[in-house]
């Protein structure tokens, strides 16, 4: 039986803006890092994201939020994930998010959020590290 377990990541792009370059860049980088990336395209509602995360049984949900709505979207998706019994999934993401908001969201149980200029390597290392610690033994 295969011992190597693939990390499955949902890359999601919520909201109405059409800026999906970041989401595509991170999706490709995750693929190249050996992850299985489910990409669902633009204009996702929190309900669509959580529904996909549950059906795909992903380990990580990574959201790209550039619209400024991060203080609504991240807590909303987190709440829906918990409600769906998927509180074991890591919710992380990136976008134009001020430092104080990052801290506030972290307090609410949301994983690290990456700002502009982050190297994709940092995000990959973060996910790998998280996976190794939560799936140890």
């Amino acid at each position: 039986m295969s011992d190597e377990r693939k990390i499955r990541v949902l890359v999601a792009k919520p909201g109405l803006d059409g800026h999906d370059r970041g989401a595509k860049v991170i999706a490709s980088a995750f693929r190249d890092a050996g992850f299985e990336v489910v990409y669902t395209g633009l204009h996702q509602t929190p309900e669509m994201i959580v529904n996909a995360a549950v059906q795909e049984d992903v380990d990580v949900v990574a959201m790209s939020v550039l619209s400024g709505a991060h203080m609504t979207l991240f807590p909303r998706v987190k709440a829906l994930l918990d409600e769906a019994g998927a509180d074991h999934m890591l919710l992380t993401g990136g976008g134009i998010i001020p430092e104080e908001d990052v801290e506030e969201l972290e307090k609410q149980g949301i994983g690290r959020l990456f700002g502009p200029g982050t190297s994709t390597g940092d995000a990959i290392a973060y996910v790998n590290e998280w996976f190794a610690t939560t799936h140890a033994g």
């Binding site: 039986m1 295969s2 377990r5 693939k6 999706a27 490709s28 995750f30 693929r31 190249d32 890092a33 050996g34 992850f35 299985e36 990336v37 489910v38 990409y39 669902t40 395209g41 204009h43 996702q44 509602t45 309900e47 669509m48 529904n51 996909a52 549950v54 059906q55 795909e56 049984d57 769906a84 019994g85 998927a86």
Partner: protein, 352 residues
């Protein structure tokens, strides 16, 4: 598989699965997909009641619009209040081992419908157009209670035909850019279709492809070649017929003539007709006894797969076999031995 007892963990999973919890199905798929401990026992338990769902496979070249067509067809089935499972396969990179699974992008309109469960799978090195465990995942969805399971393969070429092992009805989706009649006459993809669909039918070349496909199908049915004497000693009609009866479902002879339909998945044109045709094929499968036959041949090949996998595991996890292999390799290196003598020693020990 040594016994049919489930681990406590899988027992708990099975309970959630049997309660119809979506999370239970999602998790069960992960267990099977990763071939985690006890996955065979889990499958054994849920598969005991036998296949119930109608299984429809969609295959064709990359970019033919399979995902969009699956979404459009799924929408039709939801109007008929069918409860649907969808498995969509995309390729794993042979370089990084990663995958970008993008079939959901085309299925956003149906993605929050609670009557549809969509799962994306990466091929993980499997070359037949499906992932290594897609057939098992279809079985899980069937056991979960979906009325119908739609399977979408990766974009395929001519020889990735594994979808026949997962579906009762195979829809081959082509586009005007797919090629001409000669492509259609070649062996492989063209032989597994129960229904042909020319998608993106608004594009130039669509009517011509439809016509050429129909002609090619007539050739295959033998009706055009029946009276032509053997040419250079090769009787084409007989050759084609023989080829068809090896693994591909024999069709025309049994009373199903493969239809060629046109669709435009984005505007929904022709989709209703496709759904009707799939139902007609289903009725034919059931009446002709072909369904029973296909299920039997699937059961046989699945059983062989399990035996193959277990034999390999048993063989290569045995210390004695490893020792014999090492000794065999030494003999080859020092002269006198060959891979055949080494294999002979190993088989002798296994079959003793």
């Amino acid at each position: 598989m040594s016994s049919t007892t489930l681990s406590p963990e899988n027992q708990a999973l099975l309970e959630r699965f049997s309660d119809g919890k979506v999370l239970g199905l999602a998790r069960a798929i992960t267990v099977v997909e990763n071939e985690r401990a006890g996955f065979q026992e889990l499958l054994h338990t849920v598969m005991a009641r036998g296949p119930q769902a109608k299984r429809v496979g969609f295959t064709g070249p990359p970019g033919a619009g399979k995902s969009s067509l699956v979404a459009a067809v799924a929408t039709e089935y939801r109007k008929l209040e069918e409860y649907l499972g969808v498995v969509a396969v995309d390729p794993t990179s042979p370089y990084s081992g990663g995958a970008l699974l993008g079939d959901r992008i085309r299925m956003n309109d149906i993605s929050t419908d609670p009557g549809i469960f969509i799962r994306s799978m990466a091929t993980r090195g499997s070359l037949g157009g499906l992932a290594t465990t897609t057939k098992e995942v279809v079985d899980l969805m069937d056991a979960f209670g979906f009325d119908r399971v739609l399977v979408e393969t990766v974009g395929v070429g001519q020889t990735e035909l594994e979808v026949t092992a997962a579906a009762d009805t195979v829809v081959v989706v082509l586009v005007p850019e797919s090629g001409d009649a000669i492509q259609a006459m070649k062996a492989g993809l063209m032989e597994i279709a129960d229904i042909f669909v020319v998608n993106k039918a608004d594009r130039p070349g669509a009517p011509r492809l439809v016509k050429e496909l129909r002609q090619a199908l007539h050739l295959r049915a033998g009706s055009a070649l029946r009276d032509i004497p053997a040419h250079h000693g090769v009787d084409l009609g007989r050759v084609m017929k023989e080829e068809r009866t090896t693994s591909a479902p024999p069709t025309e002879a049994e009373g199903w003539s493969v239809p060629v339909l046109t669709t435009n998945a984005l505007t929904n044109e022709g989709v209703e007709e496709l759904v009707d045709t799939i139902s007609e094929h289903r009725a034919w499968l059931e009446q002709s006894g072909e369904l029973e036959q296909r299920r039997r041949s699937r059961a046989a090949s699945r059983s062989r797969d399990v035996v193959d996998r277990e034999m390999r595991r048993v063989a290569w996890s045995s210390d004695e076999v490893r020792g014999l292999l090492a000794r065999g390799v030494d003999q080859i290196a020092s002269g006198g031995g060959t891979p055949y003598s080494a294999a002979d020693a190993i088989l002798g020990s296994l079959l003793r």
